[in-house]
Amino acid sequence: MSSIYLDHAATTPMVEDALIAMTAQLARLGNPSSLHTHGRATRKTLEDAREVIAIEVGCLPSEVIFTASGTEANNTALKGLYWQGRDNGRHVVVISAIEHHAIIDPAHWLQEHEGAEIITIPVNADGVIDLDFLSHLIATRGNEIAVISIMHSNNETGVLQPIRKVVEIAGEIPVHTDAVQSFKKTPLSFSQLGVYAMTLSAHKIGGPLGIGALILRRAVEIPALLHGGGQEREIRSGTLNAPAIVGFAAAAKSKHYDIAHVASLRDSFIAGINAAIPDATINGISSDRLPGIVNVTFPGTQSDTLLLLMDGQRVSCSTGSACSAGVHEASHVLLAMGHNEVSAQSSLRFSFGATSTYADCDFVVSVLPDVITRGRAANFS
C-alpha cells in the first residue's frame, strides 16, 4: 500500500536543488569566519545564499540573521525586542491568541522571569485577529508596549492575518511576525509589510531541517540570546551552518511550489469532504487562507482516534498539538475561534505541498466515511 503524506505544514520534502546544493557544500571545507582561502570560499557561498534569500523575502541581505530554527528566531525576536523596550520603560508583550507555542511559551517565560505583562489579542470565529481590540489597546496603553508579535498565517487553520494593518495601527511600536507557514505559500515582502522582524524556517519550504532566519531591520539592535564569536550582527553567535544555509537558499529560489495548483487541490479536497461527511466543517473557511492547509472538524469524533485510523490507511495527517507526555490536547487555536473542548478535539489538519496530487485527495476522501464511522463508534466520551 502506498502512503499519502498530507502533513506538509509540519515538514515537507526537500526539493532536489536544495538537496544537491546542500550535499555539495557538506563536502567543502572552511569556516566562514576564517580569513584564509578556505574560509573566504565558504563565506562567498554563504553570502551568495543570503542575497538569494533577501531577494525572495524582500529585505536587505544585512537584514537576514541565520538561526538554527524558526523557534530560535521567534525567541530571539520576542525576547530581544522585549528587553530593548524594557530598557525604555515598556513592559507589555502583545501576542495573539493563536500564536505558535514558539511565541506563546517565550512570552510566558518573559512574564514569569523578566517582568513582562502579556496582553493577548482575541480572534473571531473565522480565525482573524480583532483589529479593534488592538487599536483600543494601543490608544490606551501604547506607551507601555515593548513588542507586538502576530503570526503572518496560522499553522493550524492557514488563516492569513492582517499584518500590514497591524503595522499601521502599531505606529512606532516594533511588530514581529512569524511567517514560517507563509513564506513561498503566499506573497510575502518584509519591506512592504513594514514589520521590525520576521521569522522564517527552511524545512517548511523544501529546504533542510535545522536552519531558520530572523529578518531584522538593519538599524534595529537587540540583545542576543547566544553570545560568542559575534556572528550575525552579534545577535546570533555560532559558526554558520553553511550547507544548510545553501540548501535554504536553493529552496527559497526554487519555483516548485505552485500556489494556484495547491489551492485547487485544497478546494477539490474540501468539496470531497463536504460530499462524504456532510456535517464536517472547515475551520476558517470564510477567511483568506494559505493554499495548502485544511482544518476540518468531524463532530462526534476524537482526533487522536481519527489519526490512528488514517495512519492505518497509510495517510499521514495531524491533530494539532500534543503536550510533553504525547497526549493530544484541544487546540488553543480552535478554542480561541470559539470551539469548545469537545469540538476542538474532533478536528484534523490536512496540509498539502508541492508533491501532493489529486489522487491523494481522492484516496483520503474515499476512506473518510469508514474512518469517521469507526471514529464515532470509538468515541465514548
Partner: protein, 357 residues
C-alpha cells in the same frame, strides 16, 4: 488478528507486543497516559506513567517496528481507579487499584475503544495464561507462580477474556528479561514496578492523609473501652500489630492486633490474635471468568491477596454473594479485598469481600 498492545514502558509489555507481532498478528502499540500531570522521570521502581516511561514505550515500539500512539485515559483512570481507591479507604475497606484498572481501564475503556475501531483484542504483559476449552476461553495462572498476575485479572468477564491476549504466561520473568535483551529492547533491565503507580512517593498512608485528612479517633478494645488514639483510621490495616502506640497493656501482656476499622465512628478496634481468625468470607458483585458458580458447593482454592497463598476451601453462591469456607482459618482479612476462586490453576471468578466471620 488486529491487536492493540498496551505498552507501559516496561519490559513485560514490550516483550508481549514483540511476541504478538511474531505470532503473525497486526499489532499497534498504545501507551496509556493515566496521569493528567505526569512526572518527568521515574524514581526507582515507583510509578509507571511518567514521561520517561512513555518514551521507553515508544522506543520499544519503534524497535519492534509497530505503530505507536498515546491514549489519554487520565480522566477514566482518575474516576474509575483513583476515586474508587479513596472512597474504599474512606469506607474502611482495603481496595486493590490494579484490579480496578484492569476491570475499568485496560479491558474496558481500551478494549471497547479498540473493538469499535476494528481491532480484535488487547495484548498486555500480564503474567497469566488463557486456554481454549469446551466451555470457551478460560483464564489461568502463569507458569511463573512468583509473578502470576491472574489475581488482578480475575475481574474480567468471559467477554473481556475473549479479547485479552497474554503472551507471557508460559515464561518466567528471568527468561523474559533475557528475551528482551536478545530482541535489543533497552528496557530489558528496567526495574519492576511495585507499589501503587499513582502514589509515586510509595507512602500510601501519607498520600491518603493528604486527601482524606487525619482526623484523630479512638482505638478501642472489643468491649469498646478506649485504650489509645489513632491519626486517621484508614492508615491502619486489618491484622496490623506495630505502630498502634497503645500504652494500656493487656492482662496477660499479649500483643493486640487491628481487628476492625469503623469509618463512620472513626474507630479502630483491636484485640487478640485469635480474634483475627476468619473461616468464612462472603463477597459481593461476583464476576465469573468462565462458567458461573451456583449454589452447589464445590471444592477449590481461594486467594485474597495479589501474591497470597491459595487456601483450600469450599465455595458456592448464596443469593448474590460468593461464599468461601476455608479448611484452615486465615488470620487478618480486610473487607474490600478481592476473593479469587481457583479450580486448580483456572480462575473461576472473583468478588469483593464484604463480610468475614
Amino acid at each position: 488478528m488486529k491487536l492493540i498492545a498496551a505498552m507501559s514502558g516496561g519490559v513485560d509489555s514490550a516483550v508481549a507486543a514483540a511476541r504478538a507481532v511474531e505470532a503473525g498478528h497486526e499489532v499497534i502499540g498504545v501507551h496509556l497516559a493515566l496521569s493528567a500531570n505526569p512526572q518527568k522521570y521515574r524514581s526507582g521502581a515507583r510509578g509507571c506513567c511518567t514521561i520517561e516511561d512513555s518514551h521507553d514505550a515508544r522506543r520499544a515500539a519503534d524497535v519492534i517496528g509497530i505503530p505507536f500512539y498515546i491514549w489519554d485515559m487520565a480522566e477514566e483512570f482518575h474516576d474509575g481507579v483513583v476515586e474508587d481507591f479513596l472512597s474504599e479507604y474512606a469506607a474502611g475497606r482495603t481496595p486493590n487499584p490494579c484490579l480496578r484498572c484492569n476491570e475499568k481501564i485496560k479491558f474496558a475503556a481500551v478494549l471497547d475503544r479498540a473493538r469499535a475501531m476494528g481491532f480484535d483484542g488487547v495484548v498486555t504483559g500480564h503474567y497469566a495464561r488463557t486456554e481454549i476449552t469446551d466451555s470457551g476461553k478460560t483464564l489461568h495462572r502463569a507458569v511463573d507462580h512468583s509473578k502470576d498476575q491472574s489475581y488482578v485479572l480475575s475481574v474480567l468477564t468471559v467477554e473481556q477474556i475473549r479479547g485479552a491476549i497474554f503472551p507471557l504466561g508460559d515464561t518466567t520473568k528471568v527468561d523474559i528479561r533475557k528475551e528482551a535483551e536478545a530482541r535489543g529492547l533497552a528496557v530489558a533491565q528496567k526495574p519492576d514496578s511495585h507499589d501503587i503507580c499513582f502514589v509515586p512517593s510509595g507512602d500510601n498512608a501519607g498520600w491518603l492523609r493528604d486527601r482524606l485528612g487525619s482526623e484523630t479517633g479512638p482505638i478501642v478494645d472489643q468491649d469498646g473501652v478506649k485504650i489509645g488514639e489513632h491519626k486517621g483510621a484508614y492508615t491502619y490495616t486489618i491484622g496490623q500489630r506495630k505502630g498502634l502506640g497503645l500504652t494500656v497493656p493487656t492482662a496477660d501482656g499479649s500483643p493486640r492486633f487491628v481487628l476492625k476499622i469503623e469509618p463512620v465512628s472513626n474507630t479502630v478496634v483491636v484485640g487478640a490474635r485469635e480474634d483475627l481468625a476468619v473461616s468464612t468470607m462472603r463477597g459481593e458483585r461476583p464476576v465469573w471468568c468462565g462458567p458461573a458458580v451456583t449454589n452447589q458447593k464445590l471444592r477449590g482454592f481461594v486467594q485474597v491477596r495479589a501474591h497470597g497463598a491459595a487456601l483450600a476451601c469450599s465455595y458456592f453462591l448464596d443469593g448474590a454473594l460468593l461464599v468461601a469456607e476455608l479448611d484452615e482459618p486465615l488470620l487478618g482479612l480486610a473487607t474490600g479485598q478481592a476473593m479469587v476462586i481457583y479450580d486448580g490453576d483456572r480462575v473461576v471468578g472473583s468478588a469483593t469481600i464484604c463480610e468475614t466471620e
